[in-house]
Symmetry: C2
Amino acid sequence: MEKTVEARAHANVALVKYFGKRDLALNLPAAPSVSITLSPLNTVTRMSFTDNDSDEIWLGDTLADSKFSTRISNYLYIFRELSGEHRGVRISTQNNFPTAAGLASSASGFAALAKGAARLFGLNLSEAEMSALARRGSGSAARSICDGFVVWHRGEKADGSDSFAQSIAPANHWDVRVLVGVTTTGPKDIGSTFAMERTRLLSPYYQPWIQTTHVNAAEAVDAIEQKDIEKLGEITEYSALAMHGAMMATEPPIVFLKGTTLDVFHLTRQLRKEGIGAYFTCDAGPQPKVLCEAKDVMTVEQRLREFPGILDVIHCSVATGATAHFIDHES
Amino acid sequence: MEKTVEARAHANVALVKYFGKRDLALNLPAAPSVSITLSPLNTVTRMSFTDNDSDEIWLGDTLADSKFSTRISNYLYIFRELSGEHRGVRISTQNNFPTAAGLASSASGFAALAKGAARLFGLNLSEAEMSALARRGSGSAARSICDGFVVWHRGEKADGSDSFAQSIAPANHWDVRVLVGVTTTGPKDIGSTFAMERTRLLSPYYQPWIQTTHVNAAEAVDAIEQKDIEKLGEITEYSALAMHGAMMATEPPIVFLKGTTLDVFHLTRQLRKEGIGAYFTCDAGPQPKVLCEAKDVMTVEQRLREFPGILDVIHCSVATGATAHFIDHES
């Protein structure tokens, strides 16, 4: 019986946003980004070789469609090339959170896939190499490889070998929490890569956005090292709003923010007036996320749960990086 | 008995936004802007000389406070200097819409005041001179002097004499409507000038915002001349979202948009999918405004009235410019 690998990777939330590519094919970012790896949002992926050269991709109990399957197959080609083993792979993958609704399922998905595939194909990789490989599946997956508080370096090289994520501090460095407000579970109107490319090409704010992101990333690393929630929170809000602002100035405008999302920003302002250190962020989707320290999380969670338009709240903690190991068989 | 002047000016809505000054004291804009003068939103101001050298400012039945009164007195000084008549003025002014809630009461207010003061002090001014004087009270008041569809020239001169508004087309050129969604009647958190200055100094998007506004203003003038609602509407939405985007990237961020405001943007997108030409705009306040042609206004107004968070809708048409005339006495 073929051995099966089980890989697991958490989602992550960018505090300093990745939004803009310097290379589309290799998912190389135009600026560095800073994130927190988040428990419990995760993807668990089981992988084993098939007896032939075609792949078989399952999303839970459903066989994946052609578009999704071929994206995965093409991605696996990297591992087949590196290992010299041109074999088909059976993959079964499951997220414990809604996919494609702005909750970065591609980050945990490709991080788990990369970690699992490296193990299955017998590749012996450093964490930096692992992260750079995950990046090629989905940019933000580079960060989900790593433990705790993470920076993803822009890198300078054309081949992307210096564009990988690394841990700034482990998950136990600082007990911050991220509350994800669920406003909708439907798919996004447009994908992140499409939005990035349109913004890069058609927003007059793109260049200053990239420039300011370099500065914010360096400051966020400092704030994490110093455990300075006010400083980190202000950078976090700024980066999210500046990203959405750059999208809004695209011709025609790209507006991921929905009313409820934006009102959660105003809620965090109100909470800060009340002395509670809560800070807003939001990715290329409508789900608002609120950053705070553990000491404030009960108050913040209660206020968010009772907020109009918030259907559910997912309470997240800082998580460790991706793992993969052989199990006896696919159950 | 002293003769009384009654002046009237309408509000206006900028389709291409004025947001950024090249001179703070003279209210000189960094870029041109394009607006529609709007009925029925207006200010009616009655003015007569007092028997002494102090002014007396009434807001409806209430004597104005010191801060407001001295702003008006200082503004009247321009007219006293121009006419050589250093006399006090009794002023009674009334808006037919909520003040200081993002409905541009300062535009109609200072346009009426300028028009009335010019008449009271016996100044014989061209419309351009009139507009430039109104501008010194409040920038957007320059536009409320003029009839119908209006462009406010940036001008190049340091003294501002070439920065005035003029009509592109009269009110009867094209029957477009503007629906103002009232979401709140409270005062704004911060004033427009403060927001402009912070954005100018602290947003990395300010320079591209100004550059793009020059282009949009020229295109909007063309679209008005051609009565092209799709072109004008797209420029209108773009200008509003790019302005708010530039504010959002200010450190710390300036966010005038509220959830309901932003959801009205998404409503206009939905309406366009249904074949109805409705276009969103919003100034430095939370009130969404929707531009459409007269043929679509009943549908748009109904959808806006039933929209969650919209307390009231003010249905506006294109209006003529400011007027002033002597009446027998202050009633």
